[in-house]
């Protein structure tokens, strides 16, 4: 399948993505920002969500076709407001990328030194937020499937979801739960034609990583643009049946 992505010309790729409706949370920095920019270049219809209104408005100014939504996925009260705006702006939804993440305690801390409130924030942002937003948008995703689409939810995970790294307790536990949640969603939603995957982008040179590991050497980290390219190719493998048929 990866070969197909590589072999696909730019024109073909744009044609394949044109009009696909995508929502990206955490869309103003790091991986989310790279995804928004690349998906717009592919002529997908993109709504992005972020907490900071100024940054949302700056990105909308930069990319006039981007639909910017100010909201916080960690807040239960924001979820339906976000969902209404996604669906209102895009007229439906084919791909949801739950990318917004929280480290929990900053700087990172051993579990024994982690405040419950910081742990709760990690769970709200990394687990409950994606769960709530996915649930609110399930009807639209199912409608996409009924209309012949292959809707997909991507939950951005981490190797900390699998490996037990000291000091990454709140983040790792929340991402582990998200990883497992993705598998359960995927099994349960298969009859509706909705796919749910968990995806680990690797260690990236992002503001989040800089906060987590301040002394990391940026050049040793993956560029968010490279990770975004990988994810877009992976998404295409899931949602674009034409590419499968071309193999």
């Amino acid at each position: 399948m990866e070969k197909v992505s590589i072999e696909m010309g730019k024109g073909q790729e744009v044609a394949a993505w044109k009009g696909i409706r995508v929502a990206v949370t955490g869309g103003t920095s790091g991986l989310g920002l790279a995804l928004v920019r690349m998906l717009l270049e592919l002529e997908a219809r993109v709504a992005f969500i972020a907490r900071n209104r100024d940054r949302v408005e700056r990105l909308v100014c930069e990319r006039k076709h981007a639909r910017g939504i100010t909201g916080d996925v960690s807040q239960k009260g924001d979820i339906y407001s976000i969902a209404i705006q996604i669906l209102g702006e895009l007229g439906g939804l084919d791909v949801l990328i739950n990318n917004a993440s929280s480290l929990g305690p900053v700087p990172l801390a051993p579990l024994a030194d982690t405040n419950c409130e910081d742990f709760e924030l990690a769970l709200q942002t990394n687990l409950l937020g994606p769960f709530r937003l996915t649930k609110a948008l399930l009807g639209a995703l199912a409608a996409s499937a009924r209309e012949g689409g292959r809707p997909l939810v991507v939950n951005v995970s981490s190797d900390a979801a699998i490996n037990a790294y000291p000091n990454w307790g709140a983040y790792g536990a929340s991402k582990a739960a998200l990883h497992h949640l993705s598998g359960i969603w995927n099994a349960e939603l298969a009859p509706q034609g909705i796919q749910v995957i968990s995806w680990d982008p690797g260690d990236m040179d992002t503001p989040l990583h800089a906060v987590a590991v301040p002394d990391a050497e940026p050049t040793a980290l993956k560029r968010p643009e490279d990770a975004a390219r990988e994810l877009i190719s992976k998404i295409a493998d899931h949602i674009l049946p034409i590419r499968e048929a071309s193999q």
């Binding site: 339906y80 407001s81 209404i84 705006q85 669906l87 702006e89 007229g91 009807g139 199912a142 209309e147």
Partner: protein
């Protein structure tokens, strides 16, 4: 009936009054609804999500507080978010029964309504002092944000606690174009859809911008339901056509589905891919051409929803249904119990007394079939 005053979409004890095509009436748990379906049937639901369509604000010319309830739109396309018909109330809130709400100040074309972050202009009156066409200013994105953040679900006094948007979205809700929930769809959770699928029953949706159910004014209420836009996709039309062609029954989840599908048939001769405006009013003289049965709420006599049921059964049967719903204290309104009504197949059967068979879900119901 008693008003359902708690916004629980699927209470475990939700009841279903079933009227079959042979004239038998029985009671069952609503959760058992899939057992009423046969392999080859098709269930059609309204997948519209509900806008927070109650918007409070100020009538700028007079400085008086108002509540604007969006009531209709030009289409179900998401780009059409600027112009709406609306019912306007004066001061107060949903806690006051709608019919007791004060009138709004005199509304004139050109009046500005400041509705939180949203600014709207009155374009024209629609034949009634509180029924107007309004137009929002600004870009579509800011209108969507204003509605999402400032709007509240339209609510009535029988529910004392403020509704949240999630209370009003059915599990299958997609595009936010309805003004009140297509509440018959509250019965359909994903487990139920799986059960339907396992029985060999097809499922599809239409999108219909369900309008408001009460205006607070007797004269204006006679115009309900207002015109409602709808969309039937090519895949839905195809699914419906295939099911019908192979002898499956069409089960409508809610009155809006009946209205849209029957409108489509009246215009195009069949259910086809279309976007339309349902202007039809369904009642005792309506010949249902495509819908075979309906799952709906328990509606009070005199409402347009109740009148729609008379297209399925004769007045005598409808009266019996009402009697049973009343006698056995079914819950009513959007979070209430439900009815499942099949289109009468043999009208001769209705000459016999209907028989009410209960599965004894409630202590006050007999375990035996009883005549009513």
């Amino acid at each position: 009936m008693i008003p359902a005053s708690v916004p629980t979409q699927r209470p475990p004890d939700a009841r279903l009054l079933v009227v079959d095509s042979g004239g038998k009436i029985r009671d069952m748990l609503r959760a058992s609804f899939p057992t009423l379906l046969r392999s080859g049937d098709i269930v059609v639901a309204n997948d519209a999500a509900t806008l927070p369509a109650s918007i409070s604000g100020v009538h700028q010319r007079t400085g008086r507080s108002i509540e604007v309830r969006l009531a209709g739109s030009e289409s179900v396309f998401h780009e059409d978010v600027r112009q709406f018909s609306a019912v306007v109330f004066g001061e107060g809130s949903y806690r006051t029964p709608t019919e007791l709400r004060p009138s709004p100040p005199e509304l004139c074309p050109g009046d500005t309504l400041q509705l939180g972050p949203l600014t709207a202009t009155v374009l024209q009156l629609l034949g009634h002092p509180r029924f107007v066409m309004i137009r929002f200013e600004g870009a579509n994105g800011s209108i969507w944000e204003g509605l999402a953040r400032h709007g509240r679900p339209i609510q009535y006094a029988h529910i004392p606690t403020p509704l949240a948007v999630w209370d009003t979205w059915t599990p299958i809700a997609g595009l936010p174009v309805a003004f009140e929930p297509p509440s018959a769809g509250f019965a359909l959770d994903w487990r139920t859809l799986d059960a339907i699928h396992r029985r060999g029953v097809h499922f599809t949706t239409i999108t219909h911008a369900a309008g408001i159910s009460s205006t607070g004014d007797v004269e204006l209420d006679t115009r309900l339901p207002f015109d409602e836009p709808y969309r039937i996709t090519e895949s839905s039309a195809r699914s419906i056509g295939l099911a019908r062609a192979t002898g499956g029954r069409l089960i409508a989840i809610g009155t809006t589905v009946v209205r849209a599908l029957e409108h489509s048939v009246s215009v195009h001769g069949s259910v086809c891919e279309t976007t339309g405006m349902a202007v039809n009013k369904i009642g005792p003289t309506t010949e249902l051409r495509v819908v075979d049965a309906i799952l709906s709420g328990t509606h009070e006599s005199g409402t347009s929803h109740h009148k729609l049921l008379s297209a399925f059964v004769d007045q005598r049967t409808l009266a019996k249904m009402d009697q049973i719903l009343q006698r056995y204290a079914y819950r009513t309104h959007e979070f209430g119990d439900s009815v499942f009504v099949e289109k009468s197949g043999d009208h001769a059967a209705w000459r016999d007394p209907a028989v009410f068979v209960t599965e004894c879900r409630h202590a006050d119901l007999s375990t035996k079939a009883i005549s009513v």
